[in-house]
Amino acid sequence: MSLIEVKNLGFTYGVGTPFEKKAVDNLSLSINEGEVVGLIGHTGSGKSTFAQMLNGLIKPTEGQVLIDGTDIWAKPKEIRKIRFKVGMVFQYPEYQLFDETVYKDISFGPRNKGLSENEINKTVRKAAEFVSLDDSLLEKSPFDLSGGEKRRAAIAGVIAMDPDVLVLDEPTAGLDPKGRDVLLAQIMGYHRERKNTIILISHSMEDVARIADRIMVMNRGRLEMIDTPKVVFSRVERLRSMGLRVPQITRIMTELKQKGYEFSDGILTVDQAFDEIVGLLKKEGKL
């Protein structure tokens, strides 16, 4: 059974005003437990609005979000419970750090969940470990950390609530290339251990190509595609018309294939491309 079921979901900002705008339009999909879903789309395509409806930060104007088969708005007074199930990491989460120490900041979620001091301690340390924050940093003020450390501390604060679904809105924006790789690896390490569902919003086609089981593409509030990275990134022109691109390596291999070379479809990483080219050269006795 699918963990998240979205039915005819819609949201309109400023209903009845001259600024009325449909941000999400008749969106339906289901996401399985343990899936990693990449969410791409141009600025203003409705990605963030959609994400905020998944944990009840925004109430849909049309349709439903079901988690474990229950409409999250069935009992509006209990919407808070959903936020422990679906954790949100916003863009530039380091701006949301607020407490005196990193430890207190990360413990805010589990404490509100009503865990015992002992459990809180374990959860905080485990969350810090997932994002490789050294124990020695936990007693520091979050404002004394470096930019990258701050971001990881903020993410640890959400991980500490142990959500079934973790939604991350552009977690790597502004990080240097190595920082991007490391953070993605940490998120995936956490995913492999907890087997939870991950929804990753990103403008980096290379990143989503690398880690997603499926990619959902939003365009002007609508869901245009939801499929494997291979299928999504084989639609080069369609993506371009929506303001998106395919990873550079995919473009190179697609163009070579169109010129008649025998490569597989939907090459998504440099590793795959390397293997394909070396394989072909060896087959033809050129290497």
């Binding site: 141009h42 203003g44 990258g148 403008h203 550079q248 491309a273 390397f274 070396v278």
Partner: protein
């Protein structure tokens, strides 16, 4: 003759801390397009702020068009000569109508109204946003907003523009729009300093400067710098996927006649290899 000349610049934000800039010397020619790379915290944004007297060196000296940035009498002239475009377009737009936003700079410089009109129109045309001149900025896409921010700088007619990660918050289309605008400014003879974490953008520059721990680690033509794949990776940087693929194939014994920096070059070179 260099347009910008930094000599032995040292700087730290507080006294106990290490030098964020540790004896940096660099020269930038008039009309040159330079990309400044380096990991988070390497000092590149601090260096950028040295170039229009937002920060002053604690040691050493920075000249912009022969003007010493530490001479307070010249600060005004230096800042109207070197414009700065930042990461978040929303923090850089001030007015409710696009053309008013672009006029903000020249108005504050005391430019004549007719001249302001001409500059605003020219600046908006240069970034392809002229048709939107009477729109409200908040309705634009990220790439469009960023181009309006660039027009606002252009209207002050600077001879150099420093871009500090101008595409970090944009979607792929927005990144391409902004890079096209930057290239066309370079074609018009404006000196460009581009700070970026996207290697695909850095390859467009005439020269790449890589910073590390407040010093210049290496510099040169993009093709030469990006051929040093292990050096870049060691310093938390990356190379375009096209370059990485070629580098790894060369390591496996494949012969390349040149190092590709983008998809087109890579396709062409691979066609040679594959025959």
């Amino acid at each position: 003759m260099s347009f910008i000349s930094a000599e032995n610049v040292k700087f730290s934000y507080d006294e106990q801390n290490r030098n964020v800039l540790d004896d940096v010397s660099l020269k930038i020619k008039k009309g040159e397009f330079v990309a400044l790379l380096g990991h988070n915290g390497c000092g590149k944004s601090t260096m950028a702020k040295m170039l229009n007297a937002m920060l002053l060196p604690e040691w050493g000296v920075v000249y912009v068009d022969n003007m010493d940035t530490s001479d307070e009498k010249l600060t005004y002239e230096i800042r109207s000569n070197v414009g700065l475009v930042l990461q978040n377009p929303d923090n850089q737009l001030v007015a409710g109508v696009i053309e008013e936003d672009v006029a903000f700079g020249p108005e504050n410089l005391g430019v004549e109204p007719q001249e302001i009109r001409r500059r605003v129109d020219d600046a908006l045309k240069a970034v392809g946003m002229y048709e939107y001149r009477t729109h409200a900025p908040h309705k634009l896409s990220g790439g469009q907003k960023q181009r309006v921010a660039i027009a606002g700088i252009l209207a002050m007619e600077p001879s150099c523009i420093v871009f500090d990660e101008p595409t970090a918050m944009l979607d792929p289309n927005g990144r391409e729009e902004v890079m096209k605008a930057i290239q066309s400014l370079h074609d018009k003879g404006i000196t460009i300093v581009l700070i970026t974490h996207y290697m695909n953008e850095a390859v467009l520059a005439d020269r790449v400067i890589v910073m590390d721990k407040g010093r210049i680690l290496t510099q040169g033509k993009p093709r030469d710098v990006f051929s040093e794949v292990p050096v870049l990776k060691r310093h938390r940087l990356d190379v375009p996927q096209a370059t990485e693929l070629a580098y790894r194939l060369i390591g496996a014994g494949v012969r390349f006649t040149d190092m590709p920096l983008n998809a087109e070059e890579c396709v062409k070179l691979l066609e040679e290899v594959l025959g």
